[in-house]
Subunit: 337 residues, 2 copies
Amino acid sequence: MTTDTTSAELVRIIREPLVECVHRGRVAVWHHDSGLIASWGDVEARILPRSAIKMMQALPLVESGAADAAGLSDTRLALACASHQGAAIHTDTVTTWLADIGRGEADLRCGPQMPSDEPAAHAMIRAHGHPDQRHNNCSGKHTGFLTLAKHLGAGPEYLEIDHPVQRAVRTAIEEVTGETCDQYAIDGCSAPNFAVSLKGFARGLAAFAAADGTGVRGAAMTRLRSAMMAHPEYVAGEGRACTRLMRTMGGRAAIKTGAEGVYAAIVPERRLGIAIKIEDGATRAAEAAIASMLVGTGVLHAEDPEALSLMHGPIRNRRDLVTGHMELAPGFAGWTP
Amino acid sequence: MTTDTTSAELVRIIREPLVECVHRGRVAVWHHDSGLIASWGDVEARILPRSAIKMMQALPLVESGAADAAGLSDTRLALACASHQGAAIHTDTVTTWLADIGRGEADLRCGPQMPSDEPAAHAMIRAHGHPDQRHNNCSGKHTGFLTLAKHLGAGPEYLEIDHPVQRAVRTAIEEVTGETCDQYAIDGCSAPNFAVSLKGFARGLAAFAAADGTGVRGAAMTRLRSAMMAHPEYVAGEGRACTRLMRTMGGRAAIKTGAEGVYAAIVPERRLGIAIKIEDGATRAAEAAIASMLVGTGVLHAEDPEALSLMHGPIRNRRDLVTGHMELAPGFAGWTP
């Protein structure tokens, strides 16, 4: 991604009459049976999938039996795959989940984060309060890690690269992507984030799409995918693209955003996995691009208000005047499998 | 800016061991006597300079005699060139300035905006209050427009493209950039934003740099430039790059950010104007790039903590761990005139 040839122009920001900004990126579409069926830019180079890979990081939680041993509900499993915004439904769920496994906020290792949910943030400011680690957008994933660590009888430092939890996460990601994860970076929540190619990431997502509930892995994939689709408000929160799109698609796809312009989609009825990385890290471009790809697969209607909003805007200013819009770049817009 | 050849790679985001993001952009450096002395990417294509052009939008306020007639202080002139963050010093100054010219908040046309200054925002949330137009980051510019409109005896709709205020703004920008401004877009604050080439923008900034206080224009340019450099906290606010860099440079350069990755610099001792546009609109990249260019001109020390922070980071996560850093791209880093 460091040369001009590795990314394709995907999204434009128009402020009439000018093209004000351009976002480039890479996209891989993997069919579980046919392999890579479409791509833009270099899909061999490794990316950091960030939070978009959380459903793969959650596989050992389910496959190990830890989720069943702890009696985890689907809302908790959705939260394990979430980048939530610290609303009450998210932090309350983390609080009770931690209590149920005999752990507490101090056992988390994700760090505190101000809620991005406005009611939660305003309530905290009015109370002169401070966020704790439960408010971190990744606290569901971390509570899942703690649940697995307890089940494995492993130590408290569950983020260490050679801790049984992270070894299990690495193995699961390697198996579903078909790649060796010998590189990782430290994520915003301090967890290891294993580098994968965009192609391998899409391949793993396609495995989630094709899972039919059979076998340990197939059952875990189906369960996590279903939990995400059944509880979109737990995977992100009100107003967020993941929640809005999963709601409007009504169980036809599971999607997940990641920091720095990553987006992932699982489309069961098409047996497709889709992985997107925006070169410059812009969320607005990743959201427009994933909406466009979902429209292409047929699980999101092109005229759906949420799809239109993310793909085209309009962009409004502080007096609510329309000052611009977004466009999908020629050569990217209009894809169908 | 819509093809691969028009932008150069300027800034990289590193999350070890990977290059996680790349920001491309264009840079023009204009010497008042020698013309264009350095450039990256296409500097002929037009951009929307957004708020980075506010010092040029303020020229008619001073040149018309309106500023003197209203007895404007240097802090008010700095605020006329500002994208402030709605701190008390900003909104209090707008309030008294409006009163002094017999106008009020309802005469503004910029729309309300939540303060980005944290103490101001928290106080407003705790009081269950709402922002008004004085909190808009452009309210100083708009109060300047109202001051000019009053001086000219013109009507209240000072944002209309054929209003005497906007006609004067257009003429000033055309004269200092040497271009015809026959295209404009509507800015976030609802003001017309005239499109200029990056080269023409840098040329205008160089005229500000070379101004020696003589003549109507030279006096206005010197006065605005000096007001910005003397009052960095009025041009942006605590924690913001414009304020931090102007403070540490101690009067050796006036700089101004604009939305969607624009940055402008006036370097009097070098008679240089510098204009930057990041293709994807990222502020972090525009800040790194302008810091690098200022280091190149010699007015900002390469080891200055503010320069290092903007150019290199480090990037820290929610547990304050260093997870990455920024780098200037080869071919851009290390420029000197």
